[in-house]
């Protein structure tokens, strides 16, 4: 199978075959994490910069550890402690990082399209670690990996994404990945956060949570992103929980083999009951483990065959 890309900017432009290449490669890297020596020399001598203009802990740590396990050198760069605070533009910041011969730049930014912008003028490879409400491709890839590992396949599954869809890059990347791999995607949440326009992406939209989860094989819960909402999109957290929260009573009406996912951080007692998050049906911690393997695979693939000096085959 072929991987020709220098960047990973979004899921939208990937083919199903390319997605599966990442998932197959990630399987090999997951095994590395289970050994006594959890490190391979694949990116020896390469430099990975984590350019996190928007704060993030779990994704940054995951990318950092992934790069380290590939023997790359890693620099972490956060907006608070950077020259961006002194008025430098993103373009100049990125150019400066390139001047230090960075090979891969992992960027998280609050503006949609920031990674695509960098990829247009940088020699280095660019990985999108979340851009605004646009995409979060590695999250969708790790979700797909986790589903495939547990269910054996993705094609034909019913995947329900429940929660704040409008402001969620995780939702958009997941919708692309799941539909490309042949799953049937249902979206559910408050009507202010789940506009009908998502039907154009090939999804079903419903506002009845019981109906949304009745046939689901996978229930992917999303956090309410208070930080992204310009105004209150629903009356109260309590009302959200009572109308859309995944409670034991609601879970009892789903298929017994339905599994629960959440990209984290979880708000216990809001979108998910505490006991459900810790139950056998929850894949939440597996997602974290798999995220590391998927990010190793992505860094490995975008570096393979296309080194920083532009050495071709």
């Amino acid at each position: 199978m072929a991987w020709e890309r220098k960047h990973l900017l979004d899921i939208q432009s990937l083919s199903a075959e390319e997605i599966l290449t990442v998932l197959d490669t990630a399987r090999a890297f997951k095994a590395v994490g289970e050994r006594a020596i959890k490190k391979v020399p694949a990116l020896r001598g390469k430099t990975v910069v984590n350019l996190f203009i928007e704060p993030s802990t779990r994704t940054r740590i995951s990318f950092e550890l992934a790069a380290q396990r590939l023997t790359a050198d890693v620099i972490n760069f956060s907006a608070e402690a950077s020259s961006l605070k002194k008025g430098e533009t993103l373009k100049d910041t990125a150019r400066n990082l390139q001047a230090l011969n960075a090979d891969i730049i992992v960027i998280r930014h609050s503006a949609s399209g920031a990674p695509h912008f960098l990829a247009r003028f940088l020699e280095a490879s660019v990985v999108n670690a979340g851009d605004g409400a646009h995409e979060h491709p590695t999250q969708a890839l790790l979700d797909a990996f986790t589903i495939r590992e547990r269910k054996g396949k993705i094609e034909g599954l019913n995947v329900t994404i429940l929660g704040d869809i409008l402001y969620s890059r995780v939702a958009r990347s997941n919708i692309w990945a799941m539909t490309k791999l042949g799953a049937r995607v249902t979206l559910c949440g408050p009507s202010t956060l789940v506009p009908r326009v998502f039907e154009q992406m090939g999804c079903r939209v419903t506002y009845d949570v019981n109906e949304a989860i009745a046939d689901a094989d996978i229930i992917n819960l999303l956090r309410i992103q208070h930080e992204r909402q310009r105004q209150t999109m629903f009356p109260s957290i309590g009302e959200y929980t009572s109308l859309f929260g995944l409670t034991q009573a609601r879970l009892a009406r789903t298929k017994p083999e339905a599994l629960i996912m959440h990209p984290g951080p979880i708000n216990r007692g809001v979108e998910i009951d505490s006991e459900i998050a810790d139950s056998k049906r929850s894949l939440i911690t597996e997602q974290v483990t798999n995220g590391l393997a998927v990010r190793m695979a992505v860094l490995f693939l975008i570096n393979g065959g296309q080194g920083p000096q532009g050495v071709a085959a």
Partner: protein, 166 residues
């Protein structure tokens, strides 16, 4: 191919008297098929099962930047402790020696074998590293630009080795 593999199996048995210490590790992908076949012959000779591992060396290669990006990674499965064992590395074609070097590095991450021996179906020459096979099915002199293609029944079709002129 069957005759050659039977001979290699007997050579391995002759060289390694303490059969309980011997494990086979096939390099993905052809080496894995060969290791399985060698193991079945060795099991008959020694009258005891011979453990088999599978090794993908992509993560340990030194030429990732220079190769065409046809990476098709297979799982690495070493279901035993290699420390203290005699590991027979099995590959289909020995060429530059870089795959073998990567395999030696990869094995290092799993423990410290007592010794490592190398068995290959075809040695086509053009070594770039000081590596030599302990067991060779056939020496095939080639030009550097030529391609050796090894096919296995396990992939569908018949066993065969072909040399494609450049």
């Amino acid at each position: 191919m069957r005759r050659v593999l039977t001979r290699i199996a007997h050579e391995i048995a002759e060289r390694n008297e303490n059969s309980g210490d011997v494990v086979l590790v096939g390099i993905q992908r052809g080496g894995v098929f060969l290791a399985r076949r060698l193991a079945s012959t060795l099991t008959t000779i020694w009258n005891q099962p011979v453990p088999i591992g599978e090794l993908d060396v992509s993560m340990h290669r030194d030429d990732l930047d220079h190769r065409a990006s046809r990476i098709d990674m297979k799982p690495t499965i070493i279901p035993f402790d290699v420390t203290g064992k005699t590991v027979i590395l099995v590959d289909d074609v020995l060429f530059s020696g870089r795959t073998t070097r990567a395999a030696l590095d990869a094995l290092n991450d799993f423990g410290r074998p007592q010794r490592i021996q190398l068995a290959v179906l075809v040695d086509r020459g053009h070594r770039e590293l000081p590596i030599k096979a302990d067991f060779v099915g056939k020496n095939v002199p080639t030009a550097a630009q030529e391609r050796i293609d090894v096919r296995f029944e396990e992939e569908g079709g018949a066993d065969g080795v072909t040399l494609e002129k450049a």
